[in-house]
C-alpha cells in the first residue's frame, strides 16, 4: 500500500503541472520514505525468520567481498597507471599490485562464504535491509548535510578556511583551501549563429554553414575575416545591415563546447600540531575528500588575468550508509533475480497460486 501511495505521489510529481513537482519535494515523501524504510526493515526481519544469523553473516561476507572488488579495481587501475609511467614508478606499481591482489583474495574468500551462506530468500531479505540502510543514510543526510560554495581565483592568492552554507551560516573548515591553477580544454568545432533584432530582443534566425573561409546562410555569404573582436563581446561578431540603414542583424561565433576542465587545489590540514599538505586536481565527476568534506568542481568563469573557480563543499554524514544501501540494493536484487532456483517450477507454482 505504501508503495502504491509513493507511486501515486510520484505520478503527481511526474507531470509538469504548475506546482505539482513541489509535492514530492515536500515533507510528504519524507514521511512516506520513513514508513517505507521501517516496513522494509520489518519485511527483511520477517523474510529472514529462522535464518537471521546466517543472513547477517552472509551480508557481512558480501560486504567484504564487495570491498575486495573495489580495492581490486581501484588499486589495479593505479598499478597500471604507475607501470605506464615506467622507471622508479614500477616499485609503486608493484605495491599497488600487491594491494590489488589482497583485494582479489578478499573477494574470492568472502565471496565463497557468501555463496555458501546465502540463498534466494536471504537475498530478498538483503534487498529489504539494504533499502533500510539507504533510507537511513538519506535521512542522516537530510538532518545533518552541510552544503556550501566557495569562489576562488585560480592564481593561488586567495585561501579559504571558512565558507558560507546555502542556509547563510558561516562554517569553519577543518582545512585551508586554495586553487593554484585551472585548465580547460575545448572541442575544436566552430559554429556560428545569426540573430535579428526585434525591438529590444535578438531572435535567432539560424546557424550559417561553415565553408572554407566564409559563412553561408540561404543566399548570403560572409567572409570569416570580416568578423571583429571587441572587449565587450565574448566572441567575434559581425553586424549586418538589414532593410533599413541601421544594422539589424548580428552574426556571431558560438562559444566552443567545453571538453574538460580541472582545478589544481592546495589543501593544508593539521595533524597533531603538524602541517600536512595535499596537492590534488579536482575534476567534474571526481571530487576530493578531506576530513569528512567532499570538494566538487562546480563551474568557472573567466576573469581578466585568471579564472574564477566555483567549488562546492559538502559534508554528508549519511553518505556512507546511502552508498552502501545503493550498492546493497543493486547486488541483492541481482542475486535474488538471477540466483539458481532450487525449485525450477516455482514461478509456475506462484502463478497457479
Amino acid at each position: 500500500m505504501v508503495l502504491g501511495v509513493v507511486c501515486l505521489l510520484l505520478l503527481v510529481g511526474g507531470f509538469p503541472l504548475v506546482g505539482a513537482p513541489q509535492v514530492y519535494r515536500s515533507g510528504v515523501m519524507l514521511a512516506l520514505g520513513i514508513a517505507a524504510a521501517l516496513l522494509a526493515l520489518w519485511g527483511g526481519w520477517r523474510i529472514g525468520a529462522g535464518l537471521r544469523a546466517r543472513l547477517v553473516i552472509g551480508l557481512i561476507c558480501t560486504f567484504f567481498a564487495g570491498a575486495g572488488i573495489v580495492v581490486l579495481c581501484q588499486y589495479g587501475s593505479k598499478a597500471v597507471q604507475y607501470a605506464m609511467q615506467g622507471g622508479v614508478m614500477w616499485f609503486g606499481a608493484l605495491g599497488m599490485l600487491c594491494t590489488a591482489t589482497v583485494g582479489g583474495l578478499f573477494t574470492a574468500i568472502f565471496g565463497y562464504f557468501s555463496y555458501r551462506l546465502m540463498n534466494r530468500r536471504l537475498w530478498l531479505a538483503g534487498i529489504h535491509w539494504s533499502l533500510f540502510v539507504l533510507a537511513l543514510g538519506s535521512y542522516l543526510d537530510f538532518c545533518g548535510e552541510v552544503n556550501a560554495s566557495a569562489q576562488l581565483p585560480s592564481n593561488g592568492r586567495v585561501t579559504v578556511c571558512e565558507v558560507m552554507t546555502t542556509e547563510g551560516e558561516k562554517v569553519l573548515l577543518p582545512f585551508t583551501l586554495r586553487v593554484d591553477s585551472f585548465t580547460a580544454s575545448y572541442y575544436g568545432d566552430e559554429s556560428y549563429s545569426l540573430y535579428r533584432r526585434d525591438g529590444e530582443e535578438w531572435t535567432l534566425l539560424g546557424h550559417p554553414e561553415v565553408m572554407v573561409d566564409c559563412l553561408k546562410f540561404e543566399d548570403e555569404l560572409w567572409a570569416m575575416e570580416d568578423l571583429q573582436s571587441s572587449p565587450g563581446m565574448p566572441q567575434p561578431f559581425l553586424l549586418l545591415p538589414g532593410e533599413g540603414e541601421q544594422p539589424d542583424r548580428l552574426l556571431m561565433r558560438n562559444e566552443r563546447p567545453v571538453k574538460d576542465y580541472a582545478a589544481a587545489c592546495h589543501i593544508e590540514t593539521e595533524y597533531r600540531g603538524r602541517k600536512e599538505v595535499q596537492d590534488e586536481v579536482v575534476r567534474v565527476n571526481s571530487p576530493l575528500q578531506c576530513k569528512g568534506w567532499m570538494i566538487y568542481l562546480n563551474s568557472y568563469s573567466p576573469m581578466s588575468s585568471s579564472t574564477l573557480v566555483t567549488l562546492h563543499l559538502r559534508k554528508a554524514p549519511g553518505r556512507f550508509f546511502a552508498l552502501l544501501g545503493m550498492v546493497g540494493v543493486i547486488l541483492c536484487t541481482a542475486c535474488w533475480c538471477w540466483w539458481p532456483r532450487e525449485d525450477k517450477n516455482s514461478t509456475d507454482k506462484e502463478l497457479a497460486a
Binding site: 510520484l10 565527476n285 546511502a322 550498492v327 538471477w338 502463478l351
Partner: protein, 250 residues
C-alpha cells in the same frame, strides 16, 4: 557514412522482420540465421555510429535505439539456452520496432560529451537501461500474448524476462544516483526523468510484491510497468518545453 548508417539500419529492420516472420511460422533455422545476421549488422552499425559520433554512440535517442538489437540478440540466446524459453519472435519484433524508431530520428553528426558525462558510470548506466527496456518490452509483448492465448505459458515467459530485466533496471536507477553523487554533489534531483525512472522501478517492485495475486493483475502490472518505461524513455525526452537535467538525452 550517413547513407551507410541509414542503409544498415534498414537492413537490420528487414532482418528483424524476417526473423520475426520465420519464428511465427516455425522456421527456426531461418530465424536463427536472420537473428545472427541482425546481430552482426548491429555490431557494424554500432561501430559506424561510433566513427560518425567520434565518441561512444549514446549521445541521442537514435544512437540508443540503434543499440537495442546489439543487446537483444544475446538476451534471446540466454533465454533460449539457459532458461529454456523460446522468445525469438518477441525479441525480433522489439528489435524491429527499435530500428523503425531509429529511422524516424534525425541523423546528427558528432556529439560532444560534456564534462559531466565523461564518467566511468556513463557506459554501464546507459547500457543497463537499454538492456532493461529491451527485455521489459519483450516481457510486455508476452503479457499481451497471454491475453490472446489465455494460457499461463506466455505469462510465465513474461515473468522470467521481467526477472532477468529487473536487476538491470535497478542498476540503471541506483548507478545514476551514485554517479550524480560524484558529479552534482547530490544523489537525487527530483528531475522529471529521474521521477519517471523511479515510478517504473516502483511499478515493477509492486509486481514482484504481488506474486500471489491473480493472473490478470500480474498481466496488467507488467503492461502498466511497460507504459511507465515508454513514458520515461520517449515522452519525457520528446515532449517540448520540459526542463530536465537529462536534457542532453533529447
Amino acid at each position: 557514412m550517413t547513407v551507410f548508417i541509414i542503409l544498415l539500419t534498414l537492413f537490420i529492420l528487414l532482418l528483424s522482420v524476417v526473423c520475426w516472420l520465420a519464428s511465427v511460422f516455425r522456421r527456426s533455422q531461418a530465424a536463427r540465421t536472420a537473428e545472427v545476421a541482425a546481430f552482426g549488422s548491429a555490431v557494424a552499425l554500432f561501430i559506424a555510429n561510433w566513427c560518425l559520433a567520434e565518441s561512444l554512440p549514446f549521445g541521442n535517442m537514435r544512437h540508443v535505439l540503434c543499440f537495442f538489437p546489439l543487446v537483444l540478440a544475446p538476451a534471446s540466446l540466454y533465454m533460449r539456452h539457459c532458461r529454456g524459453v523460446e522468445l525469438t519472435a518477441s525479441f525480433a519484433a522489439v528489435g524491429a520496432f527499435a530500428m523503425l524508431g531509429a529511422l524516424c530520428m534525425p541523423m546528427q553528426a558528432a556529439w560532444r560529451q560534456m564534462p559531466a558525462l565523461q564518467s566511468p558510470w556513463f557506459a554501464p548506466h546507459v547500457t543497463s537501461y537499454v538492456v532493461a527496456y529491451g527485455l521489459l518490452a519483450v516481457s510486455a509483448a508476452q503479457a499481451l500474448l497471454s491475453f490472446r492465448k489465455g494460457s499461463c505459458d506466455s505469462l510465465r515467459a513474461a515473468d522470467e524476462v521481467a526477472r532477468l530485466a529487473f536487476p538491470f533496471l535497478t542498476f540503471g536507477l541506483w548507478s545514476g544516483a551514485l554517479w550524480a553523487d560524484a558529479a552534482w554533489a547530490r544523489y537525487w534531483a527530483w528531475d522529471i526523468k529521474e521521477v519517471w525512472a523511479l515510478i517504473t522501478w516502483c511499478v515493477y517492485l509492486i509486481y514482484f510484491h504481488l506474486c500471489g495475486a491473480s493472473v490478470t493483475v500480474r498481466r496488467v502490472l507488467i503492461l502498466v510497468g511497460f507504459a511507465a518505461v515508454l513514458i520515461t524513455f520517449f515522452v519525457v525526452n520528446l515532449l517540448p518545453n520540459i526542463v530536465s537535467v537529462h536534457s542532453y538525452a533529447q
